[in-house]
């Protein structure tokens, strides 16, 4: 998920060309207080004029307890976006957002970046049926907790795992906080590998040059793709014969393995590793 400052026309024009799976048009932290109105109007006009192809379009509004937040949401809710990224999310904020979005098909992605949001994460994420993913906000969270944010990330280890657990429990995606040193590609790589290993299903980035690195780590390997393709082929053969289960290479292929194979194929197609048929 690529963060883009909402008040920057050049970036808005090119948002869908940079290779990200999702773009986050940011009206909050990337925009100064006296430009909040400017950004909102610019993003609104951009969404009316441009059509972002093949990317999930997300808008990070200002917190709903600020003068800007409600106005942001009211403006954005009928535009061509998929999801509202809700900063400083907790149970109340999500419920309020859900109410304000009535009559639309927009999703909500809570941004967990406060201690209360973290502690009450399960309630926060289940407060609305619109929630289909969660993003961890490491910078603001460490600020809220009064601790230092480091590259290594030891201080947010608990937060990361907690977010993953809650997301898995609710079967939604979990996206890791961005790595903020934009010149340290090795560091980004390590941070992303770590995110994948603890169960995150995606990573936010603030530098377009990091997209390829994130993709390469989250993408299935060629072997995994080949194996998944073989599983799907056998599955189709078995289904044609009316068989529910089948074996491949001497091992039984049951539902979880089959599901993982399906996901691998989908991910591979999204990442362009497999051509759409």
């Amino acid at each position: 998920m690529l963060f883009m400052p909402g008040n920057n026309p050049a970036m808005l024009i090119n948002a869908d060309v940079l290779g990200a799976d999702s773009i986050i048009l940011d009206l909050e932290d990337a925009v100064s207080i006296d430009e909040k109105d400017s950004a909102r109007i610019l993003v609104r006009e951009a969404l009316k004029f441009l059509s972002y192809k093949g990317v999930e379009t997300v808008v990070r509004i200002n917190p709903l307890d600020t003068e800007f937040g409600i106005e942001d949401l009211e403006e954005m809710k009928y535009l061509k976006i998929d999801t509202i990224l809700l900063p400083k999310a907790d149970e109340e904020e999500v419920k309020l957002a859900d109410k304000l979005l009535a009559g639309t098909d927009k999703k909500i992605m809570p941004l967990i970046e406060t201690s209360i949001g973290l502690e009450r994460i399960y309630e926060t994420l289940s407060a609305s049926k619109r929630v289909d993913g969660v993003l961890l906000g490491g910078e603001d969270l460490t600020c809220d907790m009064g601790i230092k944010r480091t590259k290594e990330g030891k201080e947010i280890y608990y937060a990361r795992c907690r977010v993953v657990a809650a997301a898995k429990a609710l079967k939604i995606s979990a996206v890791d906080t961005p790595f903020t040193d934009t010149d340290d590609y090795e560091g980004l790589k390590k941070d992303t590998i770590n995110a994948k290993e603890i169960g995150m299903t995606g990573k936010a980035v603030i530098n377009p040059r990091g997209i390829e690195i994130v993709h390469s780590i989250f993408s299935p390997s060629l072997d995994e793709i080949e194996k998944a393709k073989r599983i799907m082929t056998e599955y189709e053969k078995a289904a044609a014969k009316g068989l529910g289960v089948f074996s491949l290479d001497g091992k039984m292929v049951d539902a979880p393995i089959l599901n993982r194979a399906k996901k691998t194929i989908t991910t591979a197609k999204v990442l362009g590793l497999l051509k759409e048929e």
Partner: protein, 508 residues
Amino acid sequence: MKNILGRELPEYIEGYGKVTPYGTHISETYKIKETVKNKNNGDKVLPSIREALIKCGIKDGMTISFHHHLRNGDYVLNQVLEEIKKLGIQNIKVAASSIFPIHAPMVDLIEKGVVTKIITNYISGPVARAVSEGKLREPIVMMTHGGRPRAIESGDLKIDMAFIGAPACDDFGNINGVDGRAACGSLGYTISDAMYAEKVVAVTDNLVPYPACPIEISQIYVDYVVKIDEIGDPSGIVSGTTKITKNPIGLKIAKETVKVIKYSGLLKDGMSFQTGAGGTSLAVAKELKDLMIKEKVTGSFASGGTTSYIVDMLNEGLFKYILDVQCFDSAAVKSYKENKNHMGMSASMYGNPNTKGSVVDKLDIMILGATEIDLDYNVNVTTGSDGVLMGGSGGHSDTAYGAKLSIVVTNLIKGRLPIIKDRVTTVTTPGSSIDILVTERGISVNPKRQDLIEKLKSNIKLVKIEDLKEIAENLTGKPKEIKNHDKIIGVAEYRDGSVIDVIRRTDF
């Protein structure tokens, strides 16, 4: 009359002559160099440029040539023209292989009629603007890096005096380009001048003991040697080198380009490659390097215009040799000096279509830029969209013709201007030489290359150039056509000397 690209051309242009339209068969001529006349028995070293001009017999109407290896740090051209002016000479034809902003003093000389004609391969800055405004009395002739030596060697372009900026020179006129403050590496663009000009003067700030090895230009061609304080500014000599672009759009284009190379079938041992010096072109070099390492490919040669990126590829064993016509940065100069596998080539060897073989004909992959491209894949690098002179072919037409795969890499939109037009403002390189266009919003293959389309289509999404144009115009709106003046202020010559287009005056 129209040439085969549909460009409207007069049959005769005042100050240029009879127009041979591009597409007409031109018989190849090759003039054998006559024996050196007026062998100099005295001391070749003269005390000043003025002395050299007088000794060489400077007269009104003569053609004076210069090379551009000192690029935007060149002091030689300005000093020579200043001395010519002081001698009260008029109607000089300046045959400089390129002209840069540092040559701004020429504008005054143009206005005063000291300089009335320019023949060049690339022009930018105040001189370009002055010519576009119509201040030059005769039309400027824009040639290519390969076409200029063709013209010199065939007698089409007769040079009366060649002034060669020499980073190091001895008292017998041996010139070397790798030593001295103003070291610039290869002197490829001046070799035909040295061999064919009536008089040759080496201008140096570094007179070294005889012999000035490694000798790039032999004493047998040089009439006189003049020592001055500084022939150029080192920081200007290696200016114009760009680093790899940091712009994510440029990087995406580079990655897509290398994907095209990968599936083109040309990525294999023995391949040859050349790229420009722009930010995106260099990014392609870097991506290609990574791919060649991954696929364990060893190329035969890289050519150019070389930069540190190409030198790195040589040093890492990805190419066996570099054939170099000009060095853009100090890493390239150093490599040229020290590595015997990094050798020079004259502009003639590089791209002259009338020799027994030119390097561009051996080129597999060429990465090119574009200011504009049209639906026939004709490319403009000579004028901006407003018709103002800003650039020129350089080696564009030569390499595009010779290369097996000519790829234009560019943003789809620059500022608010779409790169793709119905018809380009000025044709520099014909569409028949251009194979592929890579932009951040899509890749188009010239329909004349069905073989390439077949190779690429199962791995790369290809779009029609008309569709890319529409995508661009949906974003920018359709630009209004600019109506230029009627007066012709320049002639764009193709590498064989035929006229591929004309350039008209712009009113500022």
